[in-house]
Symmetry: C2
Subunit: 145 residues, 2 copies
């Protein structure tokens, strides 16, 4: 299957949002019925977004949050890695990760991290990642600020 | 002890670098003898840095990497949380985390994440964090790009 990868452009946004619903419905974060504003979301987005395309259709996404650290070097964190459920188990996730790893290196990051559930460890191991430490999360109620 | 917290300013940089050596020596990341450039590091730093001061001395640091997500909301990741070894076990870490948590909320982040080793779980639990998932890391050789 001839899947192409490239950086996201603004016209991809709505399709990427639809794809991300497969990863986590936005209703789990924002109030029911919330629709992001395209201009605001695009202007404020501060990561490197990567899309995978089957012809004109976006079937994969991932983002690289680059951190310019206080001591003058770069690290990054990967977020929102997803492959369309119609396109899973045929190696596209691995190719997406290879593309992302290449971008990480070209951006001069010495380290990339990601969170995942235990079932995905074997997948990410195939792309060079190793289990490292514990992730802790805290949720904030942003509706009343 | 009257510890004050505030956002980092440029003149704090060298003291913060010295403090971060207690967390991870920069020689583990950069070639031996590397000294970051103050102007470059300050200009490129893209997180919110928080310092804790005992009078004029910087004795704590932490940074908040804010991610403006592709769907138009904000998340963040905490990095480089450290308290000077001469000031540990007297509640400063907890106060630093309270200050950071307040900043996270004021910045409209729905979620903050951090990585830690297992021994630090009880500490972060006291500040509202819960163990969530697995962290995986990949190291990149940036010396040859």
């Amino acid at each position: 299957m001839n899947i192409q990868f490239r950086e996201i452009v603004k016209k991809d946004l709505v399709e990427v949002w639809e794809l991300l619903e497969q990863l986590k419905p936005i209703s789990e974060i924002q109030p029911e019925g919330f629709i992001p504003d395209i201009d605001d979301a695009w202007t404020e987005f501060n990561s490197i977004g990567i899309v995978g395309l089957d012809g004109g259709k976006i079937i994969a996404f991932g983002s690289i949050v680059v951190e310019n650290k206080i001591r003058g070097y770069r690290s990054c964190h990967l977020e929102d890695i997803v492959v369309d459920k119609e396109y899973r188990n045929i190696g596209i996730g691995k190719r997406l990760m290879e593309y992302i790893n290449d971008k990480v290196l070209k951006n001069g990051c010495y380290r990339a991290t990601l969170f995942c559930r235990e079932g995905l460890i074997p997948f990410y191991e195939k792309t060079g990642y190793k289990v490292n430490s514990v992730v802790m999360k805290k949720w904030f109620d942003i509706k009343n600020i």
